[in-house]
């Protein structure tokens, strides 16, 4: 593998279609299972709030990394969403083993306070759409700039 080819692979590995497809499959299966665990206890809106907050946090991380590193990252962006969702809902897991919620649990992506946003899940949905949309715009611009640079340099 040439140096330029290796560099290309490293730069674009977060966007590899097969990797993204596998990550998406894992994410959807995991989220369906998590949704079920909340749904049987009549708590669907809690699932939605923490998932949307995780999506927003992931979009922020992806945006910051793209701006700082000048390349998409981390390597598994959709698993980042799942990881952040599990982090955000951690106090619910703690509750299951006997500890009521407390204000300090806001360290888990605002676990307690996020429910008090006016408009609730609808507002979080709008914010998530804006955050993801902004990242996609930024990523699209970055890809086009890379394509123009590669064309100007005469390499693939």
């Amino acid at each position: 593998m040439s140096t330029s080819r290796a560099s290309w692979t490293t730069t674009y590995r977060a966007l590899h279609p097969r990797s993204l497809a596998i990550q998406l499959t894992i994410l959807v299966i995991a989220e369906v299972l998590l949704f079920q665990t909340y749904s049987v206890h009549d708590a669907r809106f809690h699932w939605a709030t923490h998932f949307l907050v995780a999506v927003i946090a992931a979009a922020v991380v992806l945006t910051v990394l793209l701006r700082i590193r000048g390349a998409p990252g981390p390597r598994f962006p959709l698993l980042l969403v799942l990881g952040l969702h599990l982090f955000a809902m951690a106090p619910d897991l703690v509750f299951r083993v006997g500890a009521p919620h407390a204000a300090w649990m806001d360290i888990f992506l605002g676990h307690v306070s996020v429910h008090y946003l006016p408009g609730g899940d609808t507002t979080w949905l709008v914010v998530a759409a804006i955050a993801v949309g902004a990242y996609v715009v930024l990523l699209t611009r970055w890809l086009r700039a890379r394509a123009r640079g590669a064309a100007a340099a005469g390499v693939e």
Binding site: A43, F45, A48, G98, P100, H115, A128, A129
Partner: protein, 152 residues
């Protein structure tokens, strides 16, 4: 990832939230954030005798419902929530202390404006430590146990 794929995923997410995450029903709290929030409170301290009900000495679950619950599911729920030593008092609109306790706790008013369906947990010092509407309380005995376990 192409913008079109991301857009399709966002549409799917919007559909899930809009179609599957139901808004508050008639018996729910109009403020979803305050329903079953799992947060202990430092609420008012009740009198030892409230309309003939004796409070104190141990944690008490005051269950509010619009009619006396029954059936095997209820019996299981009652067994579960009292297993650790908490008392359980069922309050329906026909019980004399019902209205006074709603006022002094105070219990939230559901969307339909009728009597509450939910519960309050009073600790052994007669302080209100938890209040929530929960029309599906029979599904959530473990939540009551977490609260009574924390205040006992």
């Amino acid at each position: 990832m192409p913008a079109g794929v991301v857009a399709a995923l966002m549409v799917a997410l919007i559909a899930v939230v809009v179609l599957l995450v139901r808004p508050p029903g008639p018996l729910d709290d109009p403020r979803p954030a305050l329903q079953r929030d799992g947060l202990l409170r430092e609420g008012p301290v009740l009198e030892e005798d409230v309309a003939g009900l004796q409070l104190g000495d141990r944690a008490v679950i005051l269950l509010f419902d619009r009619e006396q619950p029954g059936g095997s599911e209820w019996e299981q729920w009652r067994t579960d929530v009292t297993a650790e030593g908490a008392d359980l008092i069922v309050l329906t609109p026909g019980v004399s202390a019902h209205g006074e306790l709603i006022d002094v706790i105070p219990m939230p008013v559901p969307v339909d404006g009728g009597p509450p369906v939910g519960y309050a947990v009073i600790d052994q010092d007669r302080q209100v430590r938890y209040v929530t509407l929960d029309p599906q309380y029979l599904l959530n005995a473990f939540e009551v146990n977490v609260i009574t376990g924390a205040v006992s």
